[in-house]
């Protein structure tokens, strides 16, 4: 079979059929979960004993920060899968996850500073968690810039995959160093360092929102993967008429 491009080896046609159904499902799930989540977050949950109403930003901020990290891990996993099983769709998934992850990271940063303003008295007070999210944002920027900078997309896929894996391995170290840096200048909570204790009644909206963000991610990912595959097929079509693969003939 004369394959005209290494993408022909993965059969995107099968992916297309699955993607369409999964996309609509994920979209519906995102909207439903989002609606319930917001309802619970804004109306049906109590104010915080210390911060009062401003704590409601948490229902948007915490899921966004959580998704920012999840997307980067998904990118690293897809990149590793691209290397181990050499499946071109894995590279496309990693490439398309990046902008979504960067979006969640940016949302986490904005809502984080909105939430911090009343508490710290400043829009940005280099809180340990927010600083780690900011550095994670630059990891995304680096990844996407590398993709864009390399003309040959198959090489870009492999190099970006290596960067995603190296970046992922460094995330815990960065997180640790930022906490360490933060504890030097702003000591962490004095009374209890065993992590935030969130009361039961505030958990339900939180998990609803995380579910909504997750479903939204899956929907956006599938949509952008379909569009990327279509774009690549189009680009290949344009090249196809001009050059077919040659053979080697002994004279």
């Amino acid at each position: 079979m004369s394959a005209t491009s290494i993408y022909e080896y993965a059969n995107p046609a099968q992916f297309e059929r699955v993607a369409d159904r999964a996309f609509t499902l994920a979209l519906i799930a995102a909207l439903v979960l989002g609606a319930f989540g917001l309802y619970f977050a804004l109306f049906n949950s109590p104010a915080d004993y210390q911060q009062g109403e401003t704590v409601r930003i948490m229902y948007v901020h915490v899921p966004a920060a959580w998704m920012a990290m999840f997307c980067y891990s998904a990118m690293a996993a897809a990149s590793a899968a691209g290397f181990i099983w050499k499946h071109p769709l894995a590279d496309v998934a990693a490439k398309e996850t990046a902008p979504i992850g960067a979006g969640f990271t940016f949302l986490a940063l904005v809502t984080g500073s909105l939430w911090g303003k009343p508490m710290w008295g400043a829009w940005w007070a280099w809180d340990a968690r927010l600083t780690s999210v900011l550095i994670l944002f630059f990891l995304y920027i680096g990844y996407m810039t590398l993709w864009r900078a390399i003309p040959d997309k198959t090489r870009a896929a492999k190099l970006a995959a290596i960067l995603a894996i190296v970046g992922f391995v460094n995330v815990p170290i960065i997180k640790f160093s930022v906490d360490w840096w933060n504890s030097l200048h702003q000591p962490a909570s004095i009374i209890r360092a065993d992590g935030p204790t969130i009361h039961g009644s505030m958990l339900t909206p939180l998990f609803l929102m995380i579910g909504a963000y997750m479903a939204g991610y899956v929907a956006m990912l599938l949509a952008s993967m379909k569009n990327e595959l279509a774009a690549r097929r189009l680009a290949r079509m344009e090249q196809l008429e001009t050059t077919k693969p040659a053979g080697l003939v002994e004279r």
Partner: protein, 222 residues
């Protein structure tokens, strides 16, 4: 002489020959400090408070601008092919390239730091911690930087791209390094802990970067 040593000797020689990266990095380091001092103004007590962190950040930036020279020239003149096909495993060659960059650029920055520290009125007690932390930290900077250089080997103008890729990866080294320098200056018991974490970061970079660089170079050959 093994290929490992040959690569180091060649790269260090090249770094000091015409157009080499070493002197460019040191001059960038110096001008960063001078510009910073001009911006801050002649307030000596303020300067000495921020001298260590500024010197550390300056050394990091100076390292960053010289990373492009590690692999791109080799790819452009074809010697990358020789490096890849020679008998030594590519991980070794990648380690040699990073060490060569450290020797030609990192050590030079460390040597220049005390002189530039005078410009910023650094206290005497702060000099030793600064130099020691820079000595350990620049190893990590060169290793991680060499990886970024390997990623961008095939790109003609990759200076900014490398900086964007490498800056988040530099965060731990900058934090522990500058932390050590400042803690050392203030006689803070944290000095030892910071130094050890800095050394651990450089060691971690020594494990990850050559392996990742070797993988990246294989994709930058065609």
């Amino acid at each position: 002489m093994s290929a490992f040593a040959a690569v180091i000797v060649r790269d260090v020689t090249l770094a000091f020959r015409a157009g080499g990266g070493a002197l460019q990095a040191v001059s960038f380091f110096a001008l960063t400090i001078v510009l910073f001092a001009l911006a801050v103004g002649p307030d000596l007590s303020l300067m000495s408070d921020i001298a260590s962190p500024v010197l550390w950040a300056g050394a990091l930036l100076a390292t960053m601008i010289s990373l492009e020279q590690i692999y791109r020239p080799d790819r452009e003149d074809g010697s990358l092919d020789a490096l890849v096909e020679c008998g030594d495993s590519l991980v070794f060659i990648a380690l040699a390239k990073a060490l060569a960059h450290w020797i030609s650029t990192g050590l030079l920055l460390v040597a220049a730091a005390p002189l530039l520290a005078l410009l910023l009125n650094l206290e005497g007690s702060a000099l030793a911690p600064l130099v020691i932390s820079l000595l350990i930290g620049t190893v990590g900077l060169s290793l991680i930087g060499a990886f970024a250089g390997a990623l961008a080997a095939a790109l003609p103008r990759a200076g900014v791209l490398i900086a964007v890729i490498v800056s988040p990866l530099y965060a731990p080294i900058l934090i522990f390094g500058s932390g050590a320098a400042s803690a050392g200056a203030a006689g803070d018991p944290q000095y030892g802990a910071n130094l050890m974490l800095l050394a651990a970061s450089s060691l971690f970079a020594a494990i990850i970067s050559p392996l990742a660089s070797a993988a990246a170079l294989r994709f930058n050959l065609d």
